[in-house]
Structure formats: structure tokens, C-alpha cells
């Protein structure tokens, strides 16, 4: 006989978990007692939200399931934003929460919250465990559900008496069988043949690749497929890194802050092949004018995404990697789309991304320098807002899982803790969190965590003393009325120093590269406070609700 807490920790080990992120409290104490002499590494964060984001960052950087742990009530509630963030971006995490004893459930006991109820709309599945002998099965199912099909967060709520209760050691099932859960991995052959035929017929085909390419580890297949058929590729925010930034077929990001040439290509293409993407409003702009001349192919593992926002001509439900592999095997002859590629090349040359070359400290310059220094061999995490869009536009991504950002939910404060998680997934790579002065202050307490464990996360704050993206919208659409978006100057170096973290302030372009090099040379965490031009905007920009070829801040056409 073993306690539930012991069974939990052993079950986690069995799933291959090495590192978990958490914060203790009353109703999770038996599990923490078990962790005290377990080989599982537990990272004590400074706020539960950071535990969820760290588990998420770990999952995105590694492709494995991330794990976070919190106590009941406020601890569990603090995980919610992190769970919702993972849900929106299809990230596999397992969140384990303490709960009041089963005998007190529903009694408004101290630190009780109905966390399975609260998280129902933002989890792929959740379990409220009632007996210790269920734990081993539940953990196995939780990891299976989180990590297979369209990945997503799973919550396991463990009442305290279940943690202390005893049960026989139940061996894990050889294979998880759930009657209501059978994801489709293999695409339908006839549909695949149809797509190949459409591609050979098409004059102006375009691939629109999303986060599904990253989560199914299908980057190599995507590149092979695009190259063999000569099809240009634009990626979503979540798909960056799926094809190298300098690949001749790559058009960069599309959508609200996409490149002009990617958005032109979408508008003019006659065949759009959506791969692991979901036609999000930040991508499509006005949906009726999105790819208006194109037949649409949609490859996705989630049948509910097919036809959700955009009418689809040929749907293929399946795992992106499996479908692309089958498609590659079915290609009998190569596609020729020279005239189309020439047209795109013309757009690329005449409509590049740009920023003022006036010697002032512009954020785009900083990202260019970071790229020059790191050459793609780094994990780049961002916060949300202008910092995120500038990074997406200007840092060149070469490999999948080296770009980590909150796309769907757009969670400010995500980046720093996610960068902590990413470090544990890829300790061999330097990790940078590109932040704004607004976002970084949402989870700045994690300086305590990185100092405590000597986690070498480098934080590049693009400090404009504004909530920059909101200010940009106020400038453009609210007549310059900067309502509650100006932030007073903060001495971030001093804050870092107070936690025992080194930092430097940068005011001019000459100081950028030395500061970046200094941060890399530093063994621990490092903060760079870049005082950038205050009112720089992210351009080009598609105003909300406009067609994506109606951009402002681009080149005259």
C-alpha cells in the first residue's frame, strides 16, 4: 500500500517527467512532502501563474508535456490564465492542483475553489480524483490526452484526503483506451489525391502554415513539400520557425502585422493550402476578403476547425506530419509556378519590412542585432504587444520550437516565466525574453526564481514607457488620446540588482551589441533595459476588420 501522494509522484516519473514548476500550500502539502526526497526536480516560482507559463514554455520548447503544481483555491485560480494560454495555442500541459478533502467539497471550505468547474472551458479535459487508487490511471490518461491529437492542457484536481489515502500499487495500462477519444492521424487518401491534382492545376498556389506544423514536428516535411512543388509559404505567428526565415520560398508572417508580400500573395493566390492553422481573425482580417480568388485546402487534426471560419473546398483531417508525408509520397511530378514566384519576388523586393535609418534606438535595430549575434541558435520568447510583433517581424527564425509566444490568448506576462520553462527544455540554448516595460511588470517577481536557481534567462526590455500596442491603437484610431497607456520610467536594472540579477541600461545604438554580448557572457540571468524611441509603431498594419491587403504604414503600391 502507498499513499496517493507517493503514487502521484511515481506516476509522474513513469511519464518521464524530470522537472515540474509549482508553489506549495495547505491542501497540496502531502504531495510536497513526497517531493522532498524525490528525484523529481521542482522549481519554486514566485506566483502560480508563472508555474503554468513555465510548464507551457517547457512544452513548446521540448515537444513534451509540461507539468505545473499548485495548491487549492487561490493557487489553483492563479493557474487559470496559464491554462487558458496553453489551451488557445494547443500546448500540452498537465496542471495538478490540491483540493479540500472530499468530505468538505462544496462546503466553501478554507481555500476551496471549484477549479474543475472554473477551468472547464479552457481545458481539453479535467479530472477530480475521488480515490487514491484512481491516481495512477488518471495521471496516465491525463498525459495521454494532453499530448496526443490536438494537444492541450489537462487539469488533475487532488483532494487532500486522496493524497493521504492509501491504495495498492496499480500497474499502468499498456495502452490508454478512451471510448470517446480517438484522434484521426492519417489523412484520407482520396482527399490527398484531390489536393495534389489541385496543386498541379493551380497557377498561384500558396501554403499558409500554422502552429500545427510546429506541434506535429512537421517542419522538414513542410519544407520538402513546398520545395518539391515550388509553392511559396507564409506562416502565422505560431508557425514561425516552421520554415527557415531565409528560405527562398518563405514569405514570412501574414495577417495584421504580416509582411506586405505575404498578404498580397494571400489576396492573389488561386489555391490556399492551410496546414495546421485555424483562420484566426488576426490572420484573416475581413474574412470574406481573405484569399477571395482561391480554392481552399485545410489540413488539420481537429475536425472542429474545418469550416469554422472559412468555407473549405478540400478538407483533410489528420496529423500534419502524417498527411504531408503521405502527400510527398503521392507526388508524381513537380509543380512549376515560375510566373507566380517571379511576381512574389517582385513584391518582396519592392515591399520589404522597413524602419527609419536615422541612428536613433529603434526596436527593430535591436532585434536585427540579436539575430546577428545569435544566428538562430537561441530560444526566443516574447511577451505580448509591440515587443511580440517586432520580434516576429525582425528576428529571423531558422528552426521550429525556437520561437515561443502567446498567440491565441495574447497573455501579457507570459514571456518571462515561459522562458524559464524553455531553459529547462533546452538548457543548451541561450534563452531571451523580449519584453515591453508593461509586460515584464506583470510577472517581474520571477526575477526571484531565476536568481534562486541561477537560471540564465536574458531579458531584453524594449522600454518605451508606454503600453505600446494600445498606445499605437490610440494614436491611429482614437485621435492620439493616450488614455491610461503612459507608464512612468522604471529603473529595471535596480530592480534586477535587488534580486541579485545583473543588468544594464542601453540608450543608444552603439551600446546595443556590447550589451547583448555582456548578457550572453553573464552566467546567470541578465536584464537589458533598452530605452527605445517612445512612439515607434508596428508596421505594416491591417486595421481590425479590414481586408489584409489594405495595410497602413507599408510602401505605396
Amino acid at each position: 500500500m502507498k499513499t496517493g501522494a507517493k503514487i502521484l509522484v511515481e506516476s509522474l516519473r513513469r511519464e518521464g517527467v524530470e522537472t515540474i514548476f509549482g508553489y506549495p500550500g495547505g491542501q497540496i502539502l502531502p504531495v510536497y512532502d513526497e517531493l522532498y526526497d524525490s528525484p523529481l526536480r521542482h522549481i519554486l516560482v514566485r506566483h502560480e501563474q508563472a508555474a503554468a507559463h513555465a510548464a507551457d514554455g517547457f512544452a513548446r520548447a521540448s515537444g513534451r508535456v509540461g507539468v505545473c503544481l499548485a495548491t487549492s483555491g487561490p493557487g489553483a485560480c492563479n493557474l487559470v490564465t496559464g491554462i487558458a494560454t496553453a489551451y488557445m495555442d494547443s500546448v500540452p500541459i498537465v496542471a495538478i492542483t490540491g483540493q479540500v478533502p472530499t468530505t468538505m467539497l462544496g462546503n466553501d471550505a478554507f481555500q476551496e475553489s471549484d477549479i474543475t468547474g472554473i477551468t472547464m472551458p479552457v481545458t481539453k479535459h479535467s479530472f477530480l480524483v475521488k480515490k487514491a487508487d484512481e491516481i495512477s490511471r488518471v495521471v496516465q490518461e491525463a498525459f495521454y490526452i494532453a499530448g496526443t491529437g490536438r494537444p492541450g492542457p489537462v487539469l488533475v484536481d487532488l483532494p487532500k484526503d486522496v493524497q493521504t489515502g492509501t491504495a495498492r500499487d496499480v500497474p499502468p495500462a499498456e495502452k490508454v483506451v478512451l471510448r470517446g477519444y480517438n484522434p484521426t492521424y492519417k489523412g484520407h487518401n482520396r482527399q490527398i489525391d484531390k489536393v495534389i491534382a489541385l496543386i498541379l492545376e493551380a497557377e498561384r498556389p500558396l501554403i499558409y502554415a500554422g502552429g500545427g506544423v510546429i506541434s506535429s514536428n512537421a517542419s522538414a516535411e513542410l519544407i520538402a513539400f513546398a520545395t518539391q512543388l515550388g509553392i511559396p509559404v507564409t506562416t502565422t505567428l505560431m508557425g514561425l520557425g516552421g520554415i527557415p526565415c531565409d528560405h527562398p520560398l518563405n514569405l514570412g508572417m501574414l495577417g495584421m502585422h504580416g509582411t506586405e508580400y505575404a498578404n498580397f500573395a494571400v489576396t492573389e493566390c488561386d489555391l490556399l493550402i492551410a496546414i495546421g492553422a485555424r483562420f484566426d481573425d488576426r490572420v484573416t482580417g475581413k474574412i470574406d476578403d481573405f484569399a477571395p480568388h482561391a480554392k481552399v485546402v485545410h489540413i488539420d487534426i481537429d475536425p472542429a476547425e474545418i469550416g469554422k471560419n472559412k468555407r473549405v473546398d478540400v478538407p483533410i483531417v489528420g496529423d500534419v506530419k502524417a498527411v504531408l508525408t503521405d502527400m510527398l509520397n503521392s507526388i508524381k511530378k513537380n509543380g512549376v509556378h515560375d510566373a507566380w514566384r517571379k511576381k512574389i519576388q517582385h513584391w518582396k523586393e519592392h515591399h520589404p519590412l522597413k524602419f527609419p535609418q536615422d541612428g536613433k534606438l529603434h526596436p527593430q535595430y535591436i532585434l536585427q542585432q540579436m539575430n546577428k549575434l545569435l544566428k538562430g541558435d537561441a530560444t526566443i520568447v516574447s511577451e505580448v504587444g509591440q515587443n511580440q510583433m517586432w520580434t516576429a517581424q525582425w528576428f529571423g527564425f531558422h528552426k521550429p520550437r525556437t520561437w515561443i509566444t502567446s498567440g491565441g490568448l495574447g497573455t501579457m506576462g507570459y514571456g518571462f516565466p515561459a522562458a524559464i520553462g524553455a531553459h529547462f527544455a533546452r538548457p543548451d540554448l541561450p534563452v531571451f525574453d523580449v519584453a515591453g516595460d508593461g509586460s515584464i511588470q506583470m510577472n517581474i517577481q520571477e526575477l526571484g526564481t531565476v536568481a534562486h536557481y541561477k537560471i540564465p534567462v536574458k531579458i531584453a526590455i524594449l522600454n518605451n514607457m508606454y503600453l505600446g500596442m494600445v498606445r499605437q491603437w490610440q494614436e491611429l484610431f482614437f485621435d492620439h488620446r493616450y488614455s491610461y497607456t503612459e507608464l512612468p520610467s522604471v529603473d529595471f536594472v535596480k530592480i534586477a540588482n535587488a534580486y541579485g540579477v545583473e543588468g544594464v541600461r542601453v540608450d543608444s545604438v552603439d551600446e546595443v551589441m556590447p550589451a547583448l554580448k555582456e548578457s550572453l557572457a553573464c552566467e546567470g540571468a541578465f536584464v537589458i533595459d533598452f530605452r527605445i524611441e517612445r512612439e515607434d509603431n508596428v508596421f505594416p498594419m491591417v486595421p481590425a476588420g479590414a481586408a489584409i491587403n489594405e495595410m497602413i504604414g507599408g510602401h505605396p503600391r
Binding site: G117, L128, G180, Y181, A304, G307
Partner: protein, 167 residues
């Protein structure tokens, strides 16, 4: 916008009903009627839901329902040959010597049964589709309905077609 009758086969587990109904409330759908009960397969329940919505929205909700781990099968019975039934219990004012005879006459036309008789009221039990029950309620209103209880609609396909876990 038309009514859709959805038959949803689910694992009989705590919380499954809120998972299912959450998907409707999230989209601002009002559930017109809901019926839940055990079914022919051990450990499973069948939920019958009637919602009013346009076809594309209902299709989207069905796809979302299918994603729930505890949902085994979802079918839209609408447009298929089917039998739909509700059961209603209606407590009607019926003082002796006044309308009681008339009420009993109405009941027999609707093949409703009198299941309880009190000094001042009777209880009618009626089974039928929504229209039949609406019609009876309307007729009885003149006598004074003290209380009206009805189940959600349950539905089943005619012929050999079934909504079961078997493919």
C-alpha cells in the same frame, strides 16, 4: 433558425452534463429542452438536446461536443424519420360538479390519463410530441392550470438506424 434535436451518447461520469451544456451557453445558445438518462450500454448515458439555431452553428457545436473526451457519439436527428416524445404532468383546477367532466373528456381525446384526483384538482399525465402537449396545455388553460411539469424531448430514429457507440 430551426429546432435541432441532438442525441448525445456520453460516459456516465460526474460533470459530463456541465461539459456538454457549457458548449451551448458559451455560444449564447438557449437549450429548449434537455433529457438525460441511462441507455442500452452499461456505463453510458444518452442526452437528448433540442436547440434552435442555424445549421452551421449547430454543426460547429456538434463538432465541439465530439471533442469532449466523455462524449462518445453525437447525432443530429433532425431531418431523419424519427419518433419524438415528451411526458407532461398537469395539475388542473377541477372542483366537484363543475368542470371535472369536461376535463376528463379533453383528457380522453388526447389519450391523457388522470393519475390523481383531489377535492379541488386533478393531475393529468400525457405523452406525445411537443405540439400535442402544447395543444393540451392551451385547452386546459381555461380551467386553471395550477402546475405544469414536462420532461425534455427524447428522440429515436425509425427503422434499423441507431445512435450507438457501434460504427
Amino acid at each position: 433558425m430551426k429546432p435541432h434535436t441532438l442525441s448525445v451518447l456520453v460516459e456516465n461520469k460526474a460533470g459530463v452534463l456541465s461539459r456538454v451544456t457549457n458548449l451551448f451557453s458559451r455560444r449564447g445558445f438557449n437549450i429548449e429542452s434537455l433529457a438525460v438518462g441511462p441507455c442500452e450500454e452499461p456505463g453510458m448515458s444518452r442526452i437528448t438536446i433540442v436547440v434552435i439555431g442555424d445549421d452551421a452553428l449547430v454543426e460547429q457545436v456538434m463538432k465541439q461536443l465530439n471533442k469532449l473526451i466523455d462524449v462518445i457519439k453525437v447525432s443530429d436527428l433532425t431531418g431523419n424519420e424519427r419518433v419524438e416524445r415528451e411526458l407532461a404532468l398537469i395539475k388542473v383546477t377541477a372542483e366537484q360538479g363543475t368542470s371535472r367532466a369536461e376535463i376528463m373528456q379533453v383528457a380522453s381525446i388526447f389519450r391523457a390519463q388522470i393519475v390523481d384526483v383531489g377535492a379541488k384538482s386533478v393531475i393529468l399525465q400525457v405523452i406525445g410530441d411537443s405540439d400535442k402537449i402544447d395543444a393540451l396545455e392551451k385547452l386546459l388553460r381555461q380551467y386553471g392550470i395550477k402546475e405544469f411539469v414536462r420532461t425534455g424531448t427524447i428522440g429515436i430514429l425509425r427503422g434499423t438506424k441507431t445512435v450507438t457507440s457501434m460504427k
